[in-house]
């Protein structure tokens, strides 16, 4: 098969950072080609260059046999290259149809939008992908997963020859991800070539034909799927053998340090009960939309539940807002670090000390030295890679940003730590560090409630797994009895009767 895309010697340098260095590889036409690598390896930058959103400093891209020099994304689109970004590019105030055809609206008499055609065409593409969206629904009212699918439709109507997916399933429920894979298989059958960036090994190995591994801006290896394995790819990504994470041998005690009773909030979650013991990590698993983040926010008071009790170290606490939760010793590292977890424009130091600042101050005046010491302690403890404490957090890699957010909440010395998707958008190496950190924290007696959609992570870390579905807890599994299938069953169907294949 011919190579439809030839990358030759692409180099891109940002001030202080060599994002890409002499990257070269081929992509065969009609294949699904995975691009893997740790955060900061250069994947997104390379994709942006291919899609015309960035210009390389040197190097050539050959597409369909012709050398391409895109000055902007529109040119790349005209050439048949489209990209579905991780951060959605939709206008939340417009409808599904308007978003899909944004910029290429069917016209009537040049200046007017042909509403009828718009409706027809959008219904057509939605039906083609078997999506049951009303084309007139305002995108802002949809869930993130649904928006992702609209974004994909938007790329597809432009009939690309090369379609690039940047972490497409990170916000998708299992059901939506299945739809995506069906669409991808469909496209492949029609001869569309696809580049697929993802951290998720199971789906990459299940769907892709080849994989390119980048590390520190350099091309490491490109192999066809059947000549490699997950272990090999991981070692190529990090340059060393990475074995499965195993927690230290430790049995959680009987002492209940954190408890939730009959927590209920209309339309979000119902009758949530659980306990966390000293030394325990409890995972809250479930599909997107199950209500897990809502429970976490409820416990944190943002907003508080309608009814129910929260007990910290056996004492009931009244939580009406974040301040109450924090005073009770509850810490919450939210799901989206960029929009709700960190102040990206502020420095590492400011972010780390933000929650605990009053303790570092006398009469409202900040004790700069105490603050420096605290920040330094956490930067070294968590191995946060940053040129200085003054560095704007927005400029750090995803993994380091996550560490800054976790550091912020460890600084308050919580009596219970709740983390929502602790390793989303985080590279393999940093993931390992975060897992080890949680292990240590549990040992130190801090109960951890971990919300995660990453099943291998859940299975590796959790002592007990609570599964939610439609706002209720549908089951509880101990580490010994848990399997991915059982969790999925409880999450999707509400029971753990996994049929045994004969």
């Amino acid at each position: 098969m011919a190579a439809i895309l030839k990358i030759r010697g692409i180099t891109k340098t940002y001030p202080g950072v060599r994002a890409l260095q002499d990257v070269s590889f081929d992509v065969e036409e009609g294949t699904i080609h995975a691009i893997m690598g740790e955060n900061g390896a250069g994947k997104s930058t390379l994709m942006q260059i291919i899609a015309g959103a960035q210009r390389p400093d040197s190097g050539v891209i050959e597409f369909g046999g012709h050398e391409m020099h895109f000055a902007n994304p529109a040119q790349a689109q005209a050439a048949g290259i489209a990209i579905v970004y991780q951060e959605l590019n939709l206008s939340p105030n417009l409808s599904v149809a308007e978003n899909i055809f944004l910029g290429i609206e069917p016209r009537a008499a040049r200046a007017f939008v042909d509403r009828k055609k718009l409706q027809e065409k959008s219904t057509e593409i939605l039906r083609k992908l078997d999506l049951h969206f009303d084309p007139d629904v305002i995108v802002g009212h949809m869930t993130v997963g649904q928006q992702q699918l609209v974004e994909i439709c938007k790329s597809l109507v432009r009939e690309p020859r090369l379609l690039i997916f940047d972490e497409p399933t990170s916000s998708l429920s299992e059901a939506d991800a299945k739809i995506l894979f069906r669409v991808i298989a469909d496209l492949k059958a029609r001869g569309v070539t696809m580049l697929y960036i993802s951290h998720r090994f199971p789906e990459v190995f299940a769907n892709c034909d080849a994989v390119t591994v980048l590390r520190d801006g350099k091309h490491v290896r490109t192999k066809t799927m059947n000549t490699t394995s997950e272990a090999e790819v991981v070692s190529l990504m990090v340059g060393r053998e990475l074995l499965a994470f195993h927690r230290k041998e430790f049995t959680p005690s009987d002492e209940v340090l954190f408890e939730v009773r009959s927590l209920t909030k209309q339309h979000q979650y119902y009758d949530i009960n659980f306990k966390i013991h000293r030394g325990e990590i409890v995972a809250l698993a479930g599909l997107i939309g199950a209500g897990r983040s809502e429970v976490a926010l409820g416990v944190f008071g943002c907003p508080p539940p309608d009814t129910g009790e929260v007990l910290v170290q056996d004492k009931p606490v009244r939580i009406r807002r974040a301040r109450d939760a924090m005073d009770a010793g509850i810490a919450l590292a939210p799901e989206d670090r960029k929009s709700t977890g960190l102040v990206l424009g502020a420095s590492v130091g400011t972010n780390v000390s933000m929650a605990v600042l009053p303790k570092l101050a006398r009469a409202n005046f900040v004790d700069q030295r105490a603050e420096q010491n605290l920040v330094q302690r956490f930067v070294s403890r968590l191995n946060i890679r940053t040129p200085s404490h003054e560095q704007r957090v927005g400029l750090l890699s995803g993994g380091n940003q996550q560490k800054v957010m976790i550091a912020k909440w460890l600084a308050v010395q919580p009596k219970c730590l709740i983390v929502d998707e602790p390793t989303r958008g985080v590279d393999v190496g940093t993931k390992a560090e975060i897992y080890a950190l949680f292990d240590d924290l549990a040992h130190a007696g801090i109960p951890i409630l971990m919300i995660s959609s990453d099943l291998p992570e859940v299975l590796a870390l959790a002592d007990r797994i609570l599964v939610m579905r439609h706002g209720r807890i549908t089951g509880e599994l101990t580490r010994a009895e848990a399997t991915e299938e059982k969790i999925m069953h409880l999450a999707a169907l509400g029971s753990d009767n996994v049929p045994v294949e004969e």
Binding site: A325, V343, A346, T350, A361, N383, A432, E433, D439
Partner: protein, 332 residues
């Protein structure tokens, strides 16, 4: 024991070698604007001897002090990601109210207090609309702009107030007097600038202002009382406007309802030129002081150069665009 081998430790974050004072100055955010100001001063001072005269310098410092005082409060508001369009009207309204009370026999202290209370009331109104009714800051402050100005007209019936009652002489000293030759408004501005600088850069509350402007959602999820903080900055902004009004009334020794009309634009210009980001979370009091001075030096310089005063607006507008572009440039 986990079988993950930790990645090789990064270079430790060590404190950099002590930078010299000069390199510290060059690295400052405000270096560019400060350099521009110094340049401007040099050019004008060399070209026009009148500029250097003590009387002119005193004039300039007094003039920019009024705008500067209000810019202190405006800076806090803009740092939280908001805007206060009502400061010009509150400035006038407070001046008029205080003058009115004094001309009706009130003593200076209670009159000033009442004036400031009225200003604080407008600030509270602004803050409440924004935090409780979820209005975008533009809306209630635009409304206050109109309401406060109307109140000033109502109080004066369109006539000037030039009598300030029993404490007239003492009142005139506030804005018209000086200490060791330095005009009082300037001293007040300097004192306020120092206080605001200390608060924004060294206190917990000041940090919170930046945090709310940087990412309000994250601030809320960090347990900060965002509502309370926002209401307080609008009250402070209104109080600064009120203070400027009272001091200016004292200096002019006569007030009309049109006092400070349109001054909100000069105040906002001063903060923007000073490097404050209108989307919030970025900017310093020091920068705003430079911006304030620059604005007035420009105005005064143009006048002394003999340029038609009608052209001033063009230069002021131009300098706003240049200042903000240079700031963008510096960042990227």
């Amino acid at each position: 024991m986990s079988q993950i081998s930790p990645q090789t430790a990064p270079e430790p974050v060590s404190p950099k070698a002590r930078p010299s004072t000069w390199s510290k100055i060059f690295a400052m955010r405000e270096a560019g604007t400060l350099a521009a100001l110094v340049l401007m001063l040099l050019v004008i001072a060399v070209a026009i001897p009148q500029f250097r005269q003590w009387e002119n310098v005193v004039n300039i410092t007094r003039n920019f002090s009024f705008v500067g005082i209000v810019a202190m409060g405006m800076t806090l508001v803009i740092l939280t990601g908001g805007i206060d369009l009502s400061v010009g009207s509150v400035w006038g309204m407070t001046a008029v109210l205080t003058a009115f009370l004094m001309s009706n026999g009130w003593q200076m202290a209670p009159a000033i207090l009442t004036g400031l209370l009225a200003a604080a009331a407008v600030g509270t109104f602004n803050g409440m609309c924004i935090t409780r009714l979820n209005m975008s800051p533009f809306v209630p402050t635009l409304a206050s702009l109109s309401i406060a100005r109307a109140l000033a007209l109502i109080i004066t019936h369109g006539r000037p107030i030039s009598k300030f009652g029993p404490d007239q002489k003492a009142f005139y000293w506030l804005g018209g007097g000086d200490i060791a030759g330095v005009p009082n408004p300037f001293i007040l501005f300097v004192v306020m600038a120092i206080i605001f600088w200390v608060v924004t850069s060294r206190t917990v509350w000041g940090r919170r202002v930046y945090a709310v402007g940087g990412n309000e959602k994250a601030a809320r999820l960090t347990g900060l009382n965002v509502r309370e903080l926002k209401v307080s900055v609008y009250i402070i902004s209104a109080l600064c406007a009120g203070i400027a009004g009272i001091v200016q009334a004292s200096y002019l020794s006569s007030v009309t309802a049109s006092l400070a009309t349109g001054e909100e634009l000069a105040v906002i210009a001063a903060t923007v030129i000073g490097g404050v980001n209108l989307s919030g979370g970025e900017g310093t009091i020091f920068g705003v002081v430079i911006g304030t001075i620059m604005l007035e030096v420009l105005r005064n310089g143009l006048l002394l150069f003999g340029i038609d005063p009608y052209w001033q607006g063009v230069f002021v507008g131009g300098i706003i665009v240049v200042a903000v572009s240079l700031d963008r440039f510096r960042k990227h």
